[in-house]
């Protein structure tokens, strides 16, 4: 098959998905359980024939991400099979945070409301739906936290077996959160890179194992588009001026951009200009470093940050993040671990939202972007809060605690309150 050959049919019902398209060489290949281009080994992405999509049809759908099923690589019957049905999370008008940051208008997309309390439920939900159609029988992943929770929970809900590989050094709380769903949680003596390499090897050997972020990645990654769709719909079918997105592999940032572009192309929103900003922790900031240096190539780093859910030293979508940010006139910044903790606390005390470290990265980066004049303080800005503070309690260390410990008397309480 040569580049640009368009398959005219597929044996899979994956809704509007038409083919897999190589992001490097543009080669198209039929929908299949593939993730690398047969021509150039570049990453494959889902291409669509959307047809006519109307706001009313979306609005008449369920509250979950399946209201956007006409924009996702999932069967039209997706709602008939058990899934975690994520999405429909709050978009919070964050006036107090805006004031603290020096921005005119801020909205916080609070994805802690998902079934396992992170945006990973979105991507895993789409991966499960696609994997079922593609003939897989086992849901799997390498992970250090949020993804493990989401995969184990989704597999349990669907009645599928799951294989979740984690580094054996993972904190006990994270082990419990993944093990409780009773899939096969395997602790591997090694770091995340070792675990990830193992997943690649196992995916190649077991054709019916869907490693969501490996061999099902083209479908899985599309789930992040729903963050963009929801933001636009919740704003009353329009795009924000600016959006700040945490960058781990970089996939989420590129998919939010993809969602915004699709909505404009489909006339679901007016295609107004928007700027996409990336947020990293300084202890793992390969994309920020490349951006600031004006490079196109990402130099891998060894992560050293409390923002573990963003600690990917060799981010697969890094170059596409650079493209997106430069094309939309955005920027990428990074913040120290101390700033991350301050970001978590700022969001909590101004808006009552308790984010994980990745959320602290987003808030602290927004602050830095304002202070350095890289973001427009008058632009309406959306911050993506993609994970839950309950999962990264250790990051707070001794920085929060009771205001006082007192004997059981009203007088003592009042004295403590000052």
């Amino acid at each position: 098959m040569t580049a640009a050959t368009v398959p005219t049919s597929t044996k899979f019902d994956l809704g509007p998905a038409r083919a897999l398209l190589c992001r490097e060489c543009g080669n198209e290949t039929p929908l299949a359980p593939e993730y690398a281009c047969l021509e150039c080994f570049g990453p494959l992405e889902v291409a669509y024939d959307f047809g006519k999509i109307r706001r009313e049809d979306i609005e008449a759908g369920p509250r979950s991400i399946w209201r956007y099923r006409g924009l996702l690589p999932v069967p039209s019957t997706v709602e008939q099979h058990p899934n975690t049905d994520p999405g429909g999370t709050r978009l919070v008008e964050a006036d107090r945070l805006a004031k603290a940051l020096g921005l005119r208008k801020v909205w916080v997309k609070d994805d802690t409301g998902n079934p396992t309390h992170s945006f990973k439920d979105r991507v895993v939900g789409v991966a499960l739906a696609a994997a079922r159609e593609l003939g897989f029988k086992v849901l799997a992943c390498p992970s250090t936290g949020n993804l493990a929770n989401a995969v184990a929970a989704a597999a349990a809900r669907a009645g599928w077996k799951s294989v979740v590989l984690v580094p054996s050094s993972l904190e006990r709380a994270k082990i419990l959160m993944s093990a409780v769903y009773d899939g096969a949680l395997i602790a591997v003596d090694g770091n995340y890179d070792d675990v990830n390499r193992l997943a690649q090897e196992l995916a190649a050997e077991h054709e019916d194992w869907a490693f969501v972020n490996v061999n099902v990645r083209p479908y899985y990654a599309e789930g992040s588009k729903t963050l963009g769709y929801e933001v636009a719909e919740q704003l009353g079918w329009r795009l924000p001026d600016q959006v700040v997105v945490p960058v781990a592999s970089g996939s989420q940032l590129t998919k939010v951009d993809k969602a915004f572009r699709e909505l404009g192309q489909l006339d679901l929103v007016e295609a107004t200009p928007y700027r996409v900003f990336g947020a990293q922790a300084t202890g793992c900031s390969p994309v920020s470093t490349a951006y600031k240096s004006g490079h196109d190539v990402i130099r891998p780093v060894r992560p050293d940050t409390i923002a573990r859910s963003l600690a990917i030293g060799a981010p697969a979508d890094g170059p596409y993040v650079l493209d997106t940010v430069r094309r939309t006139n955005g920027a990428i910044e990074d913040v120290t671990d101390e700033e991350v903790v301050e970001g978590i606390k700022l969001l909590a005390r101004t808006e009552g939202i308790f984010a994980e470290t990745a959320g602290g990265v987003t808030v602290a980066t927004a602050k830095k972007l304002v202070e350095t004049g890289q973001i427009d303080p008058d632009g309406e800005t959306v911050l993506l809060i993609t994970g839950d503070g309950l999962k990264t309690l250790d990051a707070l260390g001794d920085t929060v605690g009771p205001r006082a410990t007192v004997p059981p008397s009203a007088e003592a309480v009042l004295k403590a309150l000052g």
Copy 2:
């Protein structure tokens, strides 16, 4: 003022709320920041003039509990003030759990999706809205966990001061979850009874402090009605045959019943018969004990159970729970701590939902009700899961963990999987 005097006006805009009604003597008093009957010291409850409420109006509302504002004691302008906007949580069709329990049809109301991951966001949301209208300036509570989180978060969001009193022996994780919002968290050297007594004392002394579960309790408690409204609407505007509700103070159970009755009276659903079941942990089962003994009086107990969020030894609404359960032909059961843990794990492995210990109580009680023939296996049954497993990780102890710990080789992983 004598019993049954109906005030004809109120200076507060609390929507459809008409007056406060004594649940014991029936005396009515104008809407005010009161919680005990001036005639007999009985507990006050909100009485309403609903007028005409239509499904379409509710359906056109926001996704949060404010879609039911016409049924709640909150101002018509409630959405204009910052609040946590809870509700709109998933009702999960739980076929795998149903099969495991031996029930024909089970729905799980997953209230872990609320902003601070428990149903307490519902009651605190209503309390904050009412407290603002009633002239309070500080949001407060005594708590051992979920309520502390919800109050601290809601106050932060609203820009209010908060005073949260907790026993100083509380686990560090729960301290962190409440302290991060930066209100005044005061650790009190004493048990929950000491803390609660302190709250009563402080509420009496500080007229502008809204202790949500003390002096604002009549309004606060109404928030639990939204669980009933949502279940009915999500079922397609009809009532389930059976509902299993965890019992702490007992308020939630009586309010779900109140919601179902109101919906029938307002012709929003057909007033089909339903049975209400109560769930307690054996280590704190005063209501279950009274039910089984055929008593009308609740004998207080000293709690000793891992289900701490249900550990109220002298439940204020216990007698009303007995009334409700007997009137609807339900039952009350209690389960051991071992059964609670099994309940948590059963829900997780069948439906991918990770509940706190109170959820384990509900699931395990449903199982026991089936086994003892007290619940109809053919009846459509709703289980209320009101809190999040991430907050009670310790309860799992060593009962869950990795299936194996292996060296980083595919062979070792496959061997471990068997």
